[in-house]
Amino acid sequence: MNANVNNSILSDRQNWRYNVLALIFLFVSVLLVGQVIRIQISPTAKVFKNQGDNWLGYYRTIMPARGFIYDRWGRIFAGNTMVYEVGVELKEVANPETIARTLSTVLGRDYQRYFASASMQYSLDPENMAVYIVLENNITQEQKDQIDIIKEDIKDYSDRRSKDAKPPSLRGLVIRPQLQRSYPEKELGSNIIGFVNANGEGYGVEKHFHHLLAGNPLTVWVPLDPNKVTDIPDYPKGTSIVLTLSRELQAAMEKVVDDAIESTGSESATIVVMDPVNGEILAMATTPRMDLNRYSEYAQIFTGSTPFNRAVSQSYEIGSVFKIFTMAAALDSGTVTPETVFTDTGVFEVGGIYIRNWNGGAWGPQTMQGCMQHSLNVCMTWLAVEMGANRFYHYMDAFGFGRATGIEISGEDRGRLKMPGDSDWFMSDLGTNSFGQALAATPVQMLMGASAIANEGRMVAPHIVRSTITNGNQYNTPVQVVGTPISRDTAITLTDLLVDSLEKESSDALVEGYRLAGKTGTAQIPTPFGYSSSETNASFIGWGPVDDPRFLVYVWLEKPKTSIWASIVAAPIFAEAVKELVVLMNIPPDHERLQMSMTRNSQ
């Protein structure tokens, strides 16, 4: 009976304890749930949520690899190489001295700068934010390997002597891989390829297509929870560009340019080779050039107002080369025929000024072929006056002067062609313009205009991009016929006339075995005190083989010293260029081509 009572009492006591315990648990649970609910509905809930979300993952901005630039055969003109960025995570830095000493030893730079950066206090204060500091941007693989070796050595040392007060440590030193623009061909084609700096400023194709080449940065959410790993969308790299340039032709033309400067003492030389049928620029050599891998040296190489690419960015008074357009207009408009005879008295008055020939002489009766052969200013002025200003300028406008060609190289100069109605145009300009004075054009503009003559009247836009590769597809650039300023007959007639002129003149521009058309141009250089008599721009434009034109070449020598005359300095350079071109472009001499064609037709 007593036992039962005791059991009962014990049971009651136990129940009481259990109940108290249960109540405590219940109370705590209610408190917890209440707190959870309170947090959920409190005004700071959003803050907590944001803080929590920060740990769920992070946004990662992926910068696509910059697109490559190739020549027409697929050789890389601009690519990317792997380099490393070196930085410090300030929160992790254990021994700034070790970091500074290691970097200054391997990279050979200032110890103090590294030490000061690595010693900075970690701070999340928005005004003095200091979390991660970039110490170096582009260290090489070899330098990275050296740092890794030192890192291993220090780790061993620290393991052995961990009792040091501040053991050497590279903790906090971060090395991240990244791609850097590289130019395997260095100086070759540098004036065309160009470069861009970190702000997107630069020159050439790199600048013109900067946004395409760079691609679109992609921001993706990367969850830190592996359960929620998501597929990072396949992002394309920047658009790659295949140029119309041929590496071999470019190298050959650059060599011709360098030789020309050496042999003529010119301040600069420019040769542009274009396919007159489709407008593809096959080579564009000019001076000065630079190794694009060391683009920081730009300012030392391109001093003053030196343009990055003279062929595109520098217009100048063309001189007698321009006469081909005056003659084209005169023939096409029916003002004259090749047989028309002009009696040259050595002087012609227009707009109050007197036009004279290059030698001041009177050449007597001349056919149009004679006018071109002897490059008579008086004859050209007479033609322009006969045509009338409106008709003359209508043709010049149709040839594209005074407008940019639209070539895909940054910094194109549009030249200058004054037109009737302009405040600074005078009747005398009609005379001077007819033989290439008082107007300015770039070599590329000249090539575009001349393509109409070489290509049976069809004028094509010069272009440097053959195709673009974007999203895994290659898109070819179509040929752009920008007009037919003259008829096919006029083009053929003028071409024959220019061929005869060269041959009768026994020009140095002739190349044995090939029938070429062309025209020299010696232009005095305007100064604030009138035209210089000792300094000229010597130019030559020519194309061939005339029955099936494969190249259109423009040569420009700036201030040649051995002779001021283009027929003496520029014409031989054209011939040198053509000799290289016919080999590299596999163009057999005319008679062999004819023979092959006949054999093919007879089969």
């Binding site: 055969w73 690519g79 190489t81 792997m82 791609l179 395997p184 061909e185 290659q474 062999e592």
Partner: protein, 199 residues
């Protein structure tokens, strides 16, 4: 003394007493029987309870058993869940690692392509050719021969033209993203089990 109406009252009282008497006479035994039966049944229940009652330790054992069974079941579910989770996490981690590998390989490919371009650049190739005794040919040294069927050098085709669309691929198989319900739906649809009427 004669009481008028007293007889009637007396009769009524008598009737009442008789009725009560009868009632009592009848109730008494019934109550007795009822009480007896009640006592008997309680005894029976008590006896039955005693006969079939379980000892306290058995009761505790049963509770503990049930608790343990629940615990084992919960543990089994937890173990399966943890196993699946661990595998998912491991695969997720591998995927992240592979994505990093892809990035690294892309960079490496670009680097190798450019390094190769440096090694085969025009100046390097020209220097090598000169070292080997070659020199540029002159126009007058060339002999042109027509070779029937000869295909001349073609310009670079580094990617297919836009007409030829490549099949879009994803690095993940649907097996990794498809839920059981998706799979059932897809397979059921394929076999026409969901009865979708095709026109």
């Amino acid at each position: 003394m004669t009481c008028v109406g007293c007889e009637k009252v007396w009769n009524e009282k008598l009737q009442t007493h008789v009725f009560h008497g009868i009632t009592l006479a009848l109730k008494g035994p019934l109550l007795g029987i009822y009480t007896l039966l009640k006592w008997r049944s309680m005894e029976t229940v008590k006896q039955l309870t005693q006969a079939y009652s379980i000892t306290p330790w058995r009761k505790q054992l049963r509770v503990i058993g049930l608790f343990l069974m629940g615990l084992v079941m919960a543990s089994s579910v937890a173990v399966v869940y943890l196993g699946v989770s661990a595998r998912t996490v491991a695969v997720g981690s591998q995927i992240q690692s592979m994505m990093d590998d892809i990035e690294r390989m892309r960079r490496s490919n670009a680097d190798l392509e450019t390094t190769l371009a440096f090694l085969t650049s025009n100046s390097v190739m020209e220097a090598r050719a000169r070292e080997m005794g070659f020199r540029p040919a002159r126009a007058d040294e060339l002999v042109y021969i027509e070779v029937p069927g000869y295909v001349s050098r073609r310009e670079a085709v580094l990617a297919p033209p836009p007409g030829l669309q490549s099949v879009e691929t994803t690095p993940f198989s649907p097996d990794y993203s498809e839920s059981l319900l998706d799979w059932l739906r897809a397979n059921a649809l394929r076999q026409g089990l969901l009865g979708e009427v095709q026109p």
